[in-house]
Symmetry: C2
Subunit: 325 residues, 2 copies
Amino acid sequence: MKLAIYGYGNLGKGVECAIRQNPDAQLFGVFTRRDPDKVKTLTGVSVYPADQIGKYKDEIDVLIICGGSATDLPAMTPMLAKDFNVVDSFDTHAKIPSHFANVDAAAKESGHIALISAGWDPGMFSLNRCYASSILPEGNDYTFWGRGVSQGHSDAVRRIAGVKDARQYTVPVPSALEQVRAGTNPTLTTREKHTRECYVVAEDGADLARIEHEIKTMPNYFDEYDTTVHFISEAEMKRDHGELPHGGFVIRTGKTGLNGEHSHVIEYSLKLDSNPEFTASAIVAFARAICRMHARGDNGCKTVFDIAPGDLSPLSPEELRARML
Amino acid sequence: MKLAIYGYGNLGKGVECAIRQNPDAQLFGVFTRRDPDKVKTLTGVSVYPADQIGKYKDEIDVLIICGGSATDLPAMTPMLAKDFNVVDSFDTHAKIPSHFANVDAAAKESGHIALISAGWDPGMFSLNRCYASSILPEGNDYTFWGRGVSQGHSDAVRRIAGVKDARQYTVPVPSALEQVRAGTNPTLTTREKHTRECYVVAEDGADLARIEHEIKTMPNYFDEYDTTVHFISEAEMKRDHGELPHGGFVIRTGKTGLNGEHSHVIEYSLKLDSNPEFTASAIVAFARAICRMHARGDNGCKTVFDIAPGDLSPLSPEELRARML
């Protein structure tokens, strides 16, 4: 399958690396809205201007759109689905239904197939919520995130006056995780599920107490959480917080039996050194499925719920049954 | 969907209970090879003689075959796929390809759909091996089972002269689990992955040393493991070992990045109070998918790799996207 990358940030670079691990995938090139001459790819693959992509319609099986969910993807994915099979990682959960409708209309009209919201959450975590709740109808779902860097929260801290750089870690509360695993079906508030840790490089002479107060009281981002703020030097930031780890847990506990006498715990967890690289790796596997589904005549917008797991694997159905079942 | 149960042991009873948790499912009845008058169901649902099942072709959407993998299912599933959509939990991993071929031929000829090897292993564990290996091509898979009762190993111990009753627990070795989670990609022997614990009620006057020796040296079942044998009373067996708990772990660790510089751990685990009831709960969710796929015109033999996850859920695609993605 011939893949191409549209947008070359952390996620696009992750896709570039992931494709090299899949012998059946080949990278046609990277499309960027920046000046292509100024974009140097990790592997030396060609860079093309985004506005010329229409010329390459017949050379790309699946286009992987690596834009942001806030403003890029809502416009890009429906537009590009007119000419390409596409995959995106749209992650604004509340806006998924409208994004789906827009992409579905564009893809159906052009006969292409599109997968939105691929990755790990949305993505693998969503699948695990779906499987677990289908198997244990009488139960409760819990999703915990972290320990990992939230880029949205890090950006929010960086916008405070006097902040030069910041990194925010979302951390699950261990006792909450234990309660959930024990099957006690606790009702947990936002504050009881996660804490937030901020590492902040302040500008010289900035009022640290004010910065800390502004962080801890910031509506939506921090006010409902127990937040700790650590002021560190630029050198410490570079040394200790240069990576983008993440992960989390999807746990469902439920009962079975004539009178609910047996308890069960289903747990899926991820521990990721690099959030964008893992997301990219998932996307490339889903691109394989999209490619196969299009070859079978399928079109329109899909989500991970619509993809048969075997279509993700480079193995044939026979090999899968013999080796993995 | 109207479901029926063929075979009424622990698994059949589990299916009977699971169906009550799914408002869109209805249990037509139980088919048994025993005298129906002597079979009393947990919920009072009707019992029919197995050899009369042909009469009820048009009243059953999916037939759930609850037989053993050794001799029942290889004959039953292809036979019943001639008249019904069927689901089984065939778990002899090495014989899956030939079972698949037989069931596929029968189901395709009759236009029915069949799902083999549904449950948790094969089943949910297989799916997790497939997803994880597709996402992280450069990595290693590990499956650990337990702590849980292995019915095959318990039966093997019961066949030893002087053994009145026995229960065998398969137990993952904690240090092996930790090595795997740490991403060290250890090469683990059979002995290093699991230990086996046997609880044995001996007949009065039996030679306990001989029984213990026969267990520990039994080829295929115990000789490659570190096994502990505990002799207990009948009352202790009844009090402490009356349940069928099980579970396990599917872990994949892998690397991403230009030079494999980032490590990732994907872990799926189950902790089950009742192995047959959880298997049954998974089967009922997969029966829903089979029913929907048949309504869309699909036929032939399927495995869990062929089932889109959304088809397992009672929620509509719109609800799934809005609530679970």
